[in-house]
Symmetry: C2
Subunit: 263 residues, 2 copies
DNA sequence: TAGATTGTTAATCGATTAACAATC
DNA sequence: TAGATTGTTAATCGATTAACAATC
C-alpha cells in the first residue's frame, strides 16, 4: 500500500519540463553505473546532471518514490525506472527522410542503435541515391514511405529534407501512421492533433547565441543611434523612408538547417 | 519623446523565452518579404510563426513599439529591428571543433554564410584531416585554436567533437576567448561565468519523442506489472533482488550525439 | 538514538493568455 | 467618425526553489 506512489502523479501528468530532463538524469546515472557506483544522493546526481538537487528530487517524485530517505537512490534501480518511464525498454524503429549531409550524419550515428533506437530505413528523392546504402541502411524513394512505415511499425520519423519539401514529407509520414516527428527543417510544420513534433533548428540556436554575444560585447559598442523612423506600412505619409534592410541578408532565409546542413 | 519606448524594456531585460522566439518571427517575416508583403498584422505573423497573437505582441513589445495601431507592422522595418536586436546586423565568425560527420554537415551548411554567420575555421585532431579543406574551409589542428580565435576575433564556437574530448575542447575555446558555445556533445559542460552554452542533443530529443510515443500507444499496452522491489542501495536486506537493467542497453550511453553523429 | 537524505509543501518567480483601453 | 489593431494590464498557469517534516 505504500510502494505504489507511482500511480498518484504519473498516470496522466508528468510536466514537460521534467520529461525533458529525464534523459539528462539517465545519462548521469549510466556514467555512475560505469564507475560501479551503486548508490547516489540527490545532491550528487543533480551535480552530475547540471541541475540543483531540489529540482531533481521534485522531478523524480513525479515518477514515484524510488529513493530511500537517509540513504539515496539505487543507481541500477533508478536507471530501470527512468528508462521505463521514457519508453526506452522497447525498440524504436526510426525512418530518416532526406539523405543529405545531416541525414547521413544521423544514419551513421553510433549511439542510435545502442539507445533503443534503430534506423528502419532512409528515404531520398534523388534517383542517384535510391538503392544505395548509407551507414548500412538501404535508401528508398519517397513512394516507399508508406510501405516502410507499415512493414516496420515505425512511429518515429526524422525529417532531414530541404525546407521546401518538409511539409509534404511530413504529410506523407503522418498519413502512413508516424505520430512522432523530429524536424530538422527550418519550417513550422502543421500536423493533426495527436502528432508530436520536436524541432532541432541550428539556425535558431546560433541566433540566440549571437544575441548574447552581442550583449556581452555591447557594454560600449551598442549603437544608440536612433532606428529609422517608423512609417507604418501604408497609412499616412508616402515618402517615409524605408529602413536599410540590406545589411541583413534577405534572400534564402528559408533553406536553412535541414537542407541547410545537407545540400 | 514617444518613439523610444525601447529603452524602457529592452536595455537589460528581454525574457529568454522571447529571445528564443525572435528567430522564428524573423524567418516568418523574411517569407512575407519574399512574397512582397509590405505590412502584416500580429494575427497573421503569429500564425505564420506558429504562436498565438497575444504572445507575439507581448514579445515584440519588449523590443519597442514598432507597430501601428489599427494597421499592423511594416515588414521591412520589423525585419530590421528584430535583426538588430538579435545582433544579426554584424558578421559572426564561428569556429567548428570536430570534423566528423556533424562538423562537416555544419561546415557545408549553406544558410550559414547568408545568415551573418561565417565559418572561420575547422579544427580536428586527426593528422590525416588536418591541412585538408572541408566545404571550402581549412582544417587546423587543436593547437591552432588560440591562433584562429585571436586572428579572426571568433566569439562563437561549435563543438562537434566526441563527448570524451568535449570538455577539454571547451576549456581551450574559453581560454582563447570564445564566450558563446554551441555544444553538440552529450555532456554537461562546465564553464566560467560569462560564458554562454547552448546544447543540441539529438539523443535527448529522440528520448522525449519516445516518451510521448509510448504514451500514445500505452492506452492498453502499458505493463502495469509491479516494478522490481526497491532495495535501497545498501541499507537493510542484502538479498533484495536487483531489477533487470539488461533490457536497457547499458554500455555507451556517453558517446552519443556528437561523435555520435560524426565518428 | 543521532545523522542523513528523501519526498512534499508552500512561497516565489517567470511565462502565457485574455481582454481592453489607447490610438491609428 | 467607425473600424481595426496595437501595446499593456491583470489574471492564470506552470515551473523553480527553499525549507522541513517524514523516515530510513
Amino acid at each position: 500500500m505504500s510502494r505504489r506512489t507511482r500511480s498518484d502523479n504519473s498516470i496522466q501528468g508528468i510536466p514537460e519540463a521534467t520529461i525533458a530532463r529525464l534523459p539528462l538524469y539517465l545519462r548521469a546515472l549510466y556514467a555512475l553505473a560505469d564507475r560501479d557506483t551503486a548508490c547516489v544522493s540527490s545532491e550528487e546526481l543533480a551535480t552530475a546532471a547540471g541541475v540543483n538537487s531540489a529540482k531533481l528530487r521534485k522531478d523524480l517524485s513525479h515518477l514515484g518514490s524510488y529513493g530511500t530517505r537517509g540513504v539515496g537512490y539505487d543507481v541500477d534501480y533508478l536507471i530501470y525506472q527512468v528508462s521505463r518511464e521514457l519508453g526506452l525498454t522497447q525498440d524504436w524503429p526510426v525512418i530518416i527522410v532526406g539523405a543529405g549531409n545531416l541525414g547521413r550524419a544521423l544514419a551513421n550515428y553510433g549511439g542510435f542503435a545502442t539507445r533503443g533506437f534503430r534506423v528502419a530505413a532512409m528515404i531520398d528523392s534523388d534517383p542517384l541515391i535510391i538503392g544505395t546504402s548509407i551507414g548500412g541502411h538501404r535508401v528508398f524513394g519517397p513512394d516507399e514511405i508508406e510501405r516502410v512505415v507499415t512493414r516496420f511499425g515505425v512511429m518515429i520519423g526524422a525529417i532531414t529534407a530541404p525546407a521546401t519539401s518538409a511539409q509534404s514529407v511530413c504529410n506523407r509520414l503522418v498519413a502512413a501512421g508516424v505520430t512522432s516527428i523530429l524536424n530538422f527543417a527550418p519550417v513550422v510544420l502543421t500536423v493533426p492533433d495527436g502528432v508530436d513534433v520536436r524541432k532541432v533548428d541550428l539556425s535558431i540556436e546560433l541566433q540566440i547565441l549571437a544575441f548574447h554575444a552581442q550583449r556581452r560585447s555591447a557594454s560600449k559598442a551598442h549603437p544608440t543611434a536612433e532606428p529609422p523612423a517608423v512609417n507604418g506600412c501604408e497609412p499616412p505619409s508616402v515618402n517615409g523612408k524605408r529602413p536599410v534592410t540590406q545589411q541583413v541578408t534577405r534572400q534564402a532565409h528559408d533553406e536553412v538547417t535541414a537542407e541547410a546542413i545537407g545540400s
